[in-house]
């Protein structure tokens, strides 16, 4: 055989081997949607074969054990519930509920509502599938429990029994959940299918859900024809329902033409919900607008300064998070050049939520930028988010920040975020263990500031030792906070410690802290102690603190204490505070006390010239029994 023939034979065999083997390997066909899968491919399609199914045979056996064709469905239900295998239990239960819905849906509903209410919704759905009208009628007539199932079926009713939707929604009480929009959603579904029918049905609704019905129609309509929906909503009599419909119109319109919706934002009051973040119409329109066209939305906001405020801008949060997930650098560059005040706050909220996934990418981007107030602001927001979500990781990030120059403030704020206003104080010891020499003073300053009253005074010796680690600049404040905290837990020990300090400003600060706290829990005890102090600066500091602490409860006593202060700076402010409190309580008493206090003419003049505008009246506590 010629060499060339032999080589060609080898090549042919190798090729055949390759393709033959490949045919037996798993292939990687393209991802198919449901429709594509339904169209089939070269394999035998997946089908059902009831007669050859072991599971169907098991089901038949179970039924026959419980009465066969005339099965006792309640007994069968109990038997199915005992099934351990989750798949079988779910499958058999669903088959049984479906069969029951055919045979006697009312009885099935009554049984499930009493024994297993969680499954009543499935029965109602099966019933809707079989006979929507009968299901609605049956549920409406089935008492309050049955009627409550209708709320979860409103979307199905909109699709399968649209003619009953108005009747059903009118029969429903106001939802206990403030976030429930099932009625609105159902009317939106109906309006998408048959606007005229939806309008007519919504206008026929009576009761607590009428507003939702109108809003659902308005929203769906505005998604296709904003001006027409707006005209319809405006024709609704003025009131909450009209406002709700207008709000829904603008939100729906924003999906199609966000700028047009924004241009009409003044037509409706904000409509924000109590304690519901970004719930006002401005926020909700911005949510849709930002999603559809970010740049145009930002431009609109710049072109209309003051039209929407910070709380509305929070509606951009999800769009901001999405943009961060797609392009961190581009999004942040856009932020820096947008010129739109308030977008940095949106960034801060975004990274506390979905945007947090981009933590490292944002940090890296910031590392590549020159330090400016803008980049410091972003880094501060990022540190705040890390401190909340991952305090231990935050310490590592904080270590990267310089403690010099303008970064020092950023470092201090980031460290304070770790304590979240004191609610994360319990993390302090763990953080201190891991902290570098650079970070430790920052952590301690934050601890004295934000862990003050509640925590540090309960472990006094530990925190006395740590006072010396706080920077000199911050130590007086830390001392006062520590003294207050300790005095709250153990006033006698705290005052003893304060008095043992060397005479001077630190001692005065500590004494003031002790008195401020002690007076709150035991004013008489605190006053008795101040009485024992010898005249001098420390005594005046203590008396001044006593005046401030007791002035709102006992202004007369506060006044007396104020007149006992010798040093002029403490005396004048204490007199003023006490005199204002007296005036609040009773101007006549204030006048009498001023005249009888043996003050200098200058002091009287100064007090009479002091502002008299006051906030609240006070009194002496007196509790009557019932």
């Amino acid at each position: 055989m010629l060499l060339i023939t032999r080589i060609l034979s080898f090549a042919a065999c190798g090729t055949v081997g390759f393709f033959a083997a490949q045919a037996f390997q798993p292939t990687a066909p393209g991802w198919k949607s449901a429709d594509q899968q339904l169209k089939g491919d070269s394999l035998v399609p997946l089908a059902a074969n009831l007669s050859e199914s072991q599971l169907v045979a098991e089901w038949d056996r179970l039924r026959s054990q419980n009465g066969g064709e005339t099965a006792d469905l309640e007994a069968l239900y109990k038997a199915v519930k005992e099934e351990k295998d989750a798949f079988r239990r779910r499958a058999f239960r669903s088959a049984l509920i479906a069969e029951w819905s055919v045979r006697d849906p009312s009885a099935a509903l009554a049984y499930l509502l009493e024994k297993d209410q969680w499954q009543a919704g499935q029965l109602a759905r099966e019933w809707m599938r079989l006979d929507p009208d009968a299901a609605v009628t049956g549920l409406l007539a089935g008492g309050n429990k049955a009627r409550s199932e209708l709320r979860g079926l409103l979307s199905e009713i909109a699709r399968l029994a649209p003619g009953r939707l108005g009747e059903v929604v009118s029969a429903l009480p106001k939802s206990e959940s403030r976030w429930d929009t099932t009625a609105q959603d159902a009317f939106a579904i109906l309006a998408q299918k048959d606007l005229a029918a939806a309008r007519s049905a919504a206008e026929s609704v009576t009761g607590a859900q009428r507003g939702q019905a109108l809003a659902g129609v308005a929203k769906a309509w505005a998604e296709t024809d904003g001006p027409a929906a707006l005209a319809w909503a405006q024709a609704i009599p003025a009131g909450e329902q009209r406002d709700g419909a207008l709000k829904a119109t603008l939100i729906g319109w924003a999906k199609k033409d966000p700028m047009a919706a924004l241009d009409h934002i003044d037509l409706v009051p904000p409509g924000g919900e109590e304690f519901y973040h970004a719930s006002d119409v401005g926020a909700q329109v911005l949510r849709e607008a930002g999603k559809k066209d970010w740049d145009a939305t930002v431009k609109w906001l710049i072109d209309h300064p003051g039209k929407l405020g910070r709380s509305s801008l929070d509606g951009l949060q999800s769009a901001m998070s999405h943009r961060l997930s797609v392009d961190v650098g581009g999004t942040l560059r856009g932020l820096s050049t947008s010129g739109l005040p308030g977008l940095s706050n949106v960034f801060g909220n975004a990274i506390l939520n979905e945007g947090y996934m981009q933590r490292d990418a944002i940090w890296s981007w910031l590392d590549g930028q020159p330090a400016t107030p803008f980049t410091r602001g972003l880094r501060g927001s990022l540190l705040n988010a890390i401190a909340w979500k991952e305090p231990n990781a935050a310490l590592g990030f904080l270590e990267k920040i310089s403690d010099q120059g303008e970064d020092r403030q950023l470092l201090a704020q980031g460290t304070q975020s770790l304590l979240n206003g004191g609610s994360q104080f319990h993390l302090m010891e763990g953080l201190l263990e891991k902290a570098s020499k650079k970070m430790r003073p920052f952590l301690l300053e934050a601890a004295f500031s934000y862990g003050g009253m509640q925590h540090i005074g309960k472990e006094p010796q530990l925190w006395i030792n740590r006072l010396s680690e706080v920077s000199e600049e911050r130590r007086p404040q830390a001392t006062a906070q520590f003294a207050q905290s300790w005095a709250a837990a153990d006033p006698q020990s705290a005052q003893q410690w304060a008095m043992d300090l060397p005479e001077g400003q630190t001692r005065d600060i500590a004494v003031s802290g002790v008195i401020g706290s002690w007076t709150t829990s035991d004013p008489r005890g605190a006053a008795s102690w101040v009485n024992t102090l010898p005249a001098g600066k420390t005594r005046d500091s203590a008396a001044s603190a006593l005046v401030n602490a007791m002035v709102s409860v006992e202004p007369e006593s506060a006044w007396t204490w104020a007149t006992s202060i010798e040093s002029s700076n403490h005396r004048s402010s204490a007199l003023q505070v006490a005199y204002m409190a007296l005036q609040r309580k009773d101007p006549a008493i204030a006048r009498d006390m001023l005249q009888s206090a043996n003050l200098t003419a200058d002091e009287v003049k100064a007090l009479e010239a002091a502002p008299t505008k006051v906030k609240a009246a006070t009194g002496t506590l007196f509790i009557r029994s019932l």
Binding site: Q25, L46, S53, E274, L621
Partner: protein, 542 residues
């Protein structure tokens, strides 16, 4: 046969083998590893899956009653994991069917199901071709996986890269883990860094009872927030049953918060069961800080049966803020059983912070007894001629009340006892109303009694600025000269200077000279950094 022919045949066989080996290597090389750390391709997940028979698809849409479910059951019986997504889609938007098929899918190949669902979660909810009830499917998967291979579930969710919704899925998984293996559940909390979430705790009691010390150690090691603190309470209760003294000795070694939680739970349960022994234990503690920590729980529990004796013990053994807090707690519990007796105790307290706080506790308990009790509670509080006590009492119920019944709160403020509520409550109500309708809110504020009016109007204006600045500014401009206008100018300026120099400048220049002076005063009073101050002054043209 010639030798050369034999060589050729041999060579051909060898070439066939080499070709086959090459094909195998190529395909294996192209298949990703079944690890959750890489986002799988849809192609890989559905490779080799059969399509759904059109007749089955049609029958699933048309059939009703049990037959439809039996068809699904039969198809699911013969389906592979890769075919389950197609079957779920064919079943339509039916969450019961999705969960049933999900249970089968999880049985067949939980990792395949997880990887498929991971891909689903990377698409927006409701995308074309998306599986119905994705959260229900995940819940079904986690339920199966946690029972059959909890370690694999933990590992998978630890290794999977971050994606939108991962944290929520981890919480779902953690709930399932906590049902089958509390220790692993606590470990997952720690590994996943979930700190502010309360998972399903129903199995914790049983777990803690088996070995409270071990349970406490595991909980403390998990270093979790809400769940850890709640678990410690269960541990405390369990320890109180088996060996309370050991539990309290253990608590004494912990940091403040953990000590307080654990010791509180032990003391409450122990004192409920055996007050005498609990009291004896507390009285023998020589560390005053530890005894103080035990006091409040002891007094509250004791107060249910003999509040006078509990109060006397507190007066003698506690001091400072701890004493006041303990007394307030005692009154709160005592009021639950006997309001009159609790009120007498409050009357007998020495005036001051303790009495104020105790009165607030009594009111809180009374208020929470129900709407039909509230008028009596208000009348009682109104009879106390001390504004601070009244306001402290309302502070206890303010947030919850405003959240649950905003209209009721507003009516109360407008009613005869409205003067009792604090400034902060007025501000909160004003602010909430402004978010809904600023003009209406301002009308409401103007109708309040004189001593409340200014504060409320300011709160409305501040909130108005945060939601519709233009409207707020217009309102201020239309005010006549006087104190209210001055205040409004200051409020608006104070808000704008933090937002934008440009807007501050526009606002400033639009004002008449007298108002500009007020606005300038605000700028001068704020302690800005020099560069910010310079920018602001430039913006206002100075």
């Amino acid at each position: 046969m010639q030798r050369s022919t034999l060589y050729t045949i041999g060579g051909c066989v060898l070439a066939l083998g080499i070709g086959a080996a090459a094909a195998t290597w190529r395909v294996q090389d192209s298949l990703p590893a079944t690890s959750p750390t890489a986002v799988p391709a849809q192609e890989e997940l559905s490779a080799g899956a059969r399509s759904i028979d059109p007749k089955l698809a049609q029958d699933l849409k048309a059939e009703k009653g049990a037959k439809r479910w039996l068809l699904l059951l039969s198809a699911a019986e013969h389906a592979t994991a890769k075919e389950m997504p197609g079957l779920i889609r064919a079943a339509g938007n039916d969450s019961a069917a999705a969960r049933m098929l999900g249970a089968r899918w999880a049985e067949l190949d939980p990792m395949h199901m997880f990887r498929s669902m991971h891909v689903e979660f990377l698409q927006p909810d409701g995308s074309p071709g998306a599986l119905p009830d994705r959260h229900g499917l995940m819940d079904t998967l986690f339920e199966h996986w946690s029972k059959n291979d909890p370690q694999a579930l933990l590992r998978t969710l630890t290794d999977v890269p971050n994606f939108s919704g991962r944290d929520q899925l981890r919480m779902t998984a953690m709930n399932q883990l906590m049902k089958v293996d509390v220790e692993l559940g606590m470990q997952s909390l720690s590994e996943w860094g979930i700190r502010h979430y309360m998972p399903d705790m129903r199995k914790v009691k049983e777990w803690a009872a088996k070995n409270p010390k071990r349970a406490a150690e595991v909980t403390l090691k998990s270093n979790t927030e809400y769940a850890g603190q709640e678990a410690l309470r269960y541990v405390g209760k369990a320890w109180a049953e088996s060996n309370p003294e050991e539990g309290l000795r253990f608590a004494a070694t912990l940091d403040l918060r953990a000590r307080s939680n654990l010791a509180d739970a032990v003391i409450r349960s122990w004192a409920d069961r055996d007050l005498k022994a609990t009291l004896a234990f507390v009285n023998t503690q020589t560390d005053p800080a530890f005894r103080t920590a035990l006091g409040p729980a002891l007094m509250e529990t004791w107060g249910k049966t003999d509040p006078e004796a509990a109060l006397a013990w507190g007066e003698e053994n506690l001091k400072g803020a701890a004493r006041n807090t303990a007394i307030a707690g005692l009154i709160k519990y005592a009021a639950e059983t006997n309001l009159e007796r609790a009120a007498e105790l409050v009357s007998g307290l020495e005036g001051g912070a303790a009495q104020r706080s105790a009165a607030a506790s009594l009111f809180e308990t009374w208020f929470k007894k129900g709407k039909d009790q509230r008028n009596a509670a208000f009348e009682w509080l109104a009879a106390i001629p001390d504004r601070e006590t009244q306001q402290a009492a309302f502070d206890r119920v303010q947030w919850d009340w405003v959240w649950r019944d905003p209209v009721g709160v507003r009516e109360f403020i407008d009613g005869p006892h409205g003067k009792m509520v604090s400034e902060s409550m007025i501000r909160q109500v004003a602010s909430n109303q402004t978010a809904r309708n600023p003009e209406d809110a301002m009308k409401w504020a103007k109708g309040l009694p004189e001593d409340r009016r200014e504060g409320a109007k300011n709160a409305v204006l501040s909130s108005w600025l945060s939601i519709r600045p233009e409207g707020a500014v217009e309102y201020a401009r239309n005010l006549p000269s006087g104190a209210e206008r001055d205040q409004a100018i200051e409020t608006i300026t104070g808000s704008l200077i933090y937002q934008s120099p440009q807007q501050t400048g526009d606002w400033y220049r639009s004002l008449p000279a007298a108002d500009q002076k007020k606005a300038r005063g605000v700028i001068d009073r704020h302690g800005f950094a020099p560069s910010q101050r310079e920018e602001l002054l430039k913006a206002i043209g100075e």
